[in-house]
């Protein structure tokens, strides 16, 4: 059986949180049910002159309906186009691609940190952990954005059960400051066995990577990079590794261990 498939799907529903912040639900996609948190799909927008696919971390999946949803911010040509596609429009999905997160040990305290549009893999991780029977009290979700406006899908996130700690750079909602500051405050001086998972802007990942190494906390980061092919062939999405050499974000990533990548 093929692990990666290429299938045409439709936009089943869409929700615009702001002109540039979108949630879309896509289906049918036969592999929706086996997508792991942290994996991504590579989407080709049909009938455009935009050459390449665009990579999106999967936000949520529905195995029963063979559907998946993605959250995205309008950034360039591809996302601008995707944002204006109506319900029912066709897109071509390739996936699932890349490696997902490894689940924590039961005794560990899982710290899930999402920055802005980096929320998707962490939402899916929290959801799957709960489905697998992890103790809700052993999961802490940190969700940060520049302003309150960027903290989208907050109710759905809270609905999962674990505690959600919000922060905004401008203090317009939750704690004021960066996600990494909020986490540092929590873990300082505690003797808990933490394991950290993070996805978000590079600055945030760098801060979390440094902090985790300082406190010797294990964990994983999900990286983002422009990906021409998404399958490991083109060698375009590489990142430098601390041990030397490069790694393909689409193939060896997008999930990396803390300290593995030179951020």
């Amino acid at each position: 059986m093929k692990k990666i498939v290429i299938e045409t799907a439709k936009i089943l529903s869409k929700k615009q949180w702001a002109p540039d912040l979108n949630l879309i639900n896509l289906g049918p996609f036969s592999k929706a049910g086996i997508i792991k948190p942290g994996q991504f799909v590579h989407i080709k927008i049909s009938d455009t002159d935009i050459l390449f696919r665009r990579a999106f971390s999967v936000f949520d999946t529905d195995a029963k309906n063979d559907s998946l949803s993605i959250l995205f911010k309008v950034f360039g040509r591809g996302t601008s186009r995707l944002a204006v596609l109506p319900k029912g429009a066709k897109v071509n999905i390739m996936g699932p691609l890349g490696n997902g997160f490894s689940f924590p040990r039961r005794k560990e305290m899982a710290v899930l940190a999402g920055g802005g549009i980096g929320l998707p893999p962490l939402y899916l991780l929290a959801k799957e952990m709960i489905e697998r029977g992890y103790d809700r009290k052993r999961i802490l979700i940190f969700y940060g954005g520049k302003t309150r406006r960027e903290l989208i899908e907050l109710n759905r996130l809270r609905g999962l059960g674990p505690k959600v700690i919000c922060s905004t750079d401008d203090g317009s909602y939750g704690l004021q400051g960066f996600v990494s500051d909020a986490i540092r405050k929590l873990i300082s001086g505690k003797s808990e066995n933490y394991r950290i998972y993070a996805c978000g802007p590079n600055g945030m990942l760098k801060a979390i990577d440094e902090m985790a190494r300082e406190f010797k906390i294990p964990g994983q980061l999900s990286l983002e990079a422009p990906m021409p092919c998404g399958t490991g062939i083109c060698l375009g999405c590489i990142v430098p590794l601390r041990a030397g050499g490069y790694s393909r974000v689409c193939r060896e990533g997008p999930v990396y261990e803390i300290g593995e990548v030179l951020l």
Partner: protein, 304 residues
């Protein structure tokens, strides 16, 4: 009756004229997850150098209008690991394996091809005379004498067919093509990427750390067709067409202009299984035209 898609180039029978282009199919491992590589007429590996190379620092690709720029910088595992691991992987597929070779000097081409001479799975070599992203890559590509000399030396050490891959970044591509033919090349493949640039107006920086890169994709197809057509009229050896091919119609255009086979490149990044559909559609097209053989299309362009 199903039309015969096979073509012969330099004594080698390709089951169909659809090959994958160097640098867009790795060593076949990733593509094999999408379709059976034995369906292909041939596979052209990523450029192999004497020593392994990491390539240029990122960013080394950029999307452009109907195309892409790349300056990967010949990242590859080096000839030793290539023979030990990658060529071995390709053993199990029933397709023609063409090893693309890139040297910084004439001697490096000879050294690599000497190593490959002992590997029967390397059915052919394709000499990358035209990588625009390495310092000395363009010297041989644009110097007829050097190109001829390099082909001649490689022919002495490599017992199977040798293809010279030509650069479009030259004043007169026919001059280089004829020189390679004179040097003993069994076939020519063209075109490699066109030197290009993209600029970020926020940072005032080029979009590639190498500043310039090689342009590929649909944007270069017209240039490639014109060059294939021109070279077809000036040499006797077979031509393999490359440049922006993404469907069977593109393939037919190249065949009509004189290419005996084609290589699919950038399209594989968007649709890794593109060759499967292309082969299927090409068969349908020939059936519709009541052509028994794909050969009947080659060079049949009716110019004004």
């Amino acid at each position: 009756m199903t039309p015969d898609l096979s073509v012969e180039i330099a004594g080698i029978r390709f089951k169909n004229p659809i090959l994958t282009a160097s640098g867009t199919c790795g060593y076949g491992e990733e593509l094999a997850e999408f379709f059976d590589l034995s369906l292909l007429g041939g596979i052209v590996t990523k450029s192999i150098t004497a020593k392994s190379r990491e390539g240029h620092p990122p960013p080394r690709t950029a999307e452009t209008d109907a195309g892409m720029l790349n300056a990967i910088g010949l990242a590859n595992v080096g000839v030793d690991r290539f023979i030990a691991e990658k060529l071995k992987f390709l053993e199990k597929y029933d397709t023609t394996v063409i090893v693309n070779v890139a040297g910084a000097t004439e001697q490096e081409y000879v050294d690599i091809c000497t190593r490959l001479a002992d590997c029967p799975r390397a059915n052919m070599v394709e000499l990358n005379f035209s990588c625009p992203n390495v310092q000395r890559g363009m010297t041989i590509a644009s110097n007829a004498e050097l190109a001829e000399q390099t082909v001649r030396q490689v022919k002495k050490v490599f017992p199977r067919p040798v293809i010279a891959k030509l650069s479009p970044n030259v004043t007169n591509i026919c001059e280089i093509a004829s020189a390679c033919e004179a040097g003993g090349a069994d076939a020519l493949s063209l075109i490699n990427t066109l030197v290009g640039m993209a600029v970020d107006i926020e940072t005032f920086r080029p979009r590639l750390t190498n500043n310039t890169g090689g342009l590929s994709g649909p944007a270069i197809k017209p240039v490639a067709l014109a060059m294939v057509h021109k070279v077809y009229k000036s040499v006797k050896i077979p031509i393999i067409g490359i440049g922006g091919i993404s469907n069977y119609k593109d393939v037919v255009e190249f065949l009509l202009c004189g290419a005996k086979a084609v290589q699919i490149g950038t399209a594989l990044f968007v649709q890794p299984d593109a060759p499967v559909q292309i082969i299927k559609d090409l068969k349908k097209y020939l059936t519709k035209l009541k052509f028994g053989k794909v050969d009947e299309l080659i060079g049949q362009l009716r110019t004004y």
